[in-house]
């Protein structure tokens, strides 16, 4: 295992994050505050409790998930796309590193950034609503798993993308709708029966449900199923990345 290579990539990626630390923090804090003002205070005041939790608190796990998934995906996709775009990727391709090491470096850094931003959002939420986390360890575990799995997805997108538009396409067209329709701002039980069934095909439902269970002890789907879904998603991403590096798809001529 080339540990120095993993460290080099990780530090390199993190240093870019720290160069723009304030931008990285301000934007999620502002957007989260806006969600709380609109959904929590303005609309939420007219909504009763959802599953015994005030609506303002109920949306916190969904909000964190929304940001974490988007951040993990965009950070990882940008991280690997950028060297491809400017041409410095030659160095990674000619270095004695395996696909696993490159992936660990980029995905680790992207997941760390997303984790950091998720924590910032949680802290911001405390300013607006009263939250008590019932299963803190499970909460952290779900958060880390989600950061990692979506960073893996982002890594694949970054390798696939041929231009900056494509880089933004998947987060915009796939992730955001899936998260919005995945029960970020509502409980699935609030949907008509047909939509409840359709929703179960949305993988994000399982992630948000599990994460919300860690907060409030209530879930749309069993927690075990949530864990299984995350594990499955991670495995698919890893297998795809292994295939990419084996064949050199979009990386090597």
């Amino acid at each position: 295992m080339n540990l120095y290579a993993i460290k080099a990539i990780y530090i390199f990626e993190m240093s870019r994050f720290f160069r723009t630390l304030w931008q990285s923090i301000v934007s999620p804090v502002v957007s989260t505050s806006l969600y709380f003002v609109v959904f929590g205070a303005a609309i939420g005041s007219r909504i009763d409790q959802v599953e015994g939790v005030s609506y303002g608190a109920f949306i916190v796990p969904g909000l964190i998930m929304l940001s974490v998934m988007t951040q993990a995906t965009t950070n990882a996709s940008f991280g690997i796309y950028f060297p491809k775009f400017i041409g410095t990727i030659y160095e990674h391709l000619s270095a004695p590193v395996s696909f696993l090491e490159i992936t660990l470096g980029y995905v680790g850094a992207a997941a760390t950034k997303a984790l950091f931003i998720g924590s910032v959002i949680l802290l911001t939420a405390y300013l607006f609503v009263d939250i008590r986390i019932q299963h803190p360890l499970a909460m952290v575990a779900f958060l880390i798993l989600t950061c990692t799995s979506f960073a893996l997805l982002g890594f694949i997108i970054g390798i696939w993308a041929g231009n900056f538009e494509q880089l933004q396409l998947i987060p915009l067209l796939v992730i955001t709708p899936l998260v919005f329709l995945g029960g970020s701002f509502y409980s699935i039980s609030m949907l008509p029966p047909v939509w409840q069934t359709i929703t179960l095909f949305n993988p994000v439902v399982y992630l948000i449900s599990g994460f919300r269970w860690a907060f409030f002890g209530t879930a749309d789907v069993p927690v075990g199923l949530s864990l299984l879904a995350i594990a499955g998603f991670t495995a698919i991403c890893l297998a795809t990345i292994a295939w990419i590096f084996k064949t050199g798809w979009r990386l090597r001529d």
Partner: protein
């Protein structure tokens, strides 16, 4: 001398059917500087990219230090440093950090003293905290060399190291390369500048249309193919070779007589030639000899191939 890089029947065919390399065989000796010359699109960069792992070979094999570049890529690549043709750099990164990054990427423990030594040897130490975007093109190329040297490679590939570099920097770069050779680094460079190959290389390889058409010691190549000519200036310009001298290998060019000969041969025939010219009643005003350059050799070889 042992061969540090062995290329066997290396072929690279792209999806669109274009064959960039067609069965290349090349052995590179440890410690030498070999220059690969060839016209644009000859396959120089593809060859280097394949050895370094950036491009996948369609057929054939390569070993570096005895390690197969596919089966044992870690050991093979650890020995290689690559300076690419294009000066792609991370604009916002600092010089010293990008060099440290390269060392880490190649699996080596951080070593500030070594990085300092590399940067100093390339006159980059004063610029160590500059952002890469603040550097000139020539300086960026030095940074790429520093990055390639950061993990102490035994084989260094320089793909057109002096393309777009001004004359002074080019000479500096040659000094750097010679210094590396003295340290025992094997150097493979591709170049358009035949002057560069002539100035630095121990051996010359000529690559054309995806094939190595010749690999030879530079001096031997120049001796073998480098004809010498004697130009004889006459008091009265001649249109053609005078009748009395027509049995000699002479040509008339621009009013002068030109005699081609092999300077290595025991008998150049120069004394006899001069006597005959005098006997023919021609008055000589000046004599000049000229050795054909590597460039002329190269052009004639590539033409033969075409």
């Amino acid at each position: 001398m042992t061969d540090i890089v062995q290329v066997k029947d290396l072929t690279k065919r792209y999806d669109n059917g274009f064959e960039a390399l067609s069965g290349v065989n090349l052995n590179i000796r440890e410690g030498e500087i070999i220059a690969l010359l060839g016209p644009n699109g000859a396959g120089k960069t593809t060859l280097i990219s394949t050895i370094c792992g950036i491009t996948q070979a369609s057929a054939g094999s390569v070993t570096v230090g005895g390690h197969d570049i596919v089966e044992d890529y870690r050991r093979a690549r650890s020995m290689i440093g690559l300076v690419p043709q294009e000066t792609h750099v991370e604009s916002f990164e600092k010089v010293v950090r990008t060099v440290q990054f390269s060392r880490g990427l190649f699996g080596k423990r951080r070593d500030d003293a070594l990085v300092e030594k590399v940067l100093r040897s390339l006159s980059l130490w004063e610029k160590k905290d500059s952002k890469l975007m603040q550097l000139s093109g020539g300086m960026k190329r030095r940074v790429l060399i520093a990055k390639a040297l950061a993990h102490e490679p035994r084989v260094l590939f320089l793909d057109e190291p002096t393309a777009g570099v001004d004359v002074e920097l080019r000479k500096d770069m040659w000094e750097v390369v010679r210094g590396l050779k003295e340290q025992g680094v094997t150097i493979i460079l591709t170049t358009h500048y035949i002057e560069e190959a002539e100035a630095m290389a121990d051996r010359i390889g000529i690559i054309n249309k995806g094939q190595i058409s010749l690999v030879e010691e530079k001096d031997a190549l120049m001796r073998r193919l480098g004809q010498k000519t004697l130009q004889i200036e006459l008091a009265e310009a001649v249109e053609a070779v005078p009748e009395a001298l027509s049995h000699l290998p002479l040509t008339a060019e621009g009013g002068r007589l030109v005699y081609s000969y092999d300077s290595q041969s025991d008998h150049t025939g120069i004394t006899g030639l001069l006597n005959e010219i005098r006997d023919a009643g021609l008055q000589m005003t000046d004599l000049q000899t000229r050795q054909s350059s590597l460039e002329e050799i190269f052009v004639s070889l590539v033409k033969e191939d075409a």
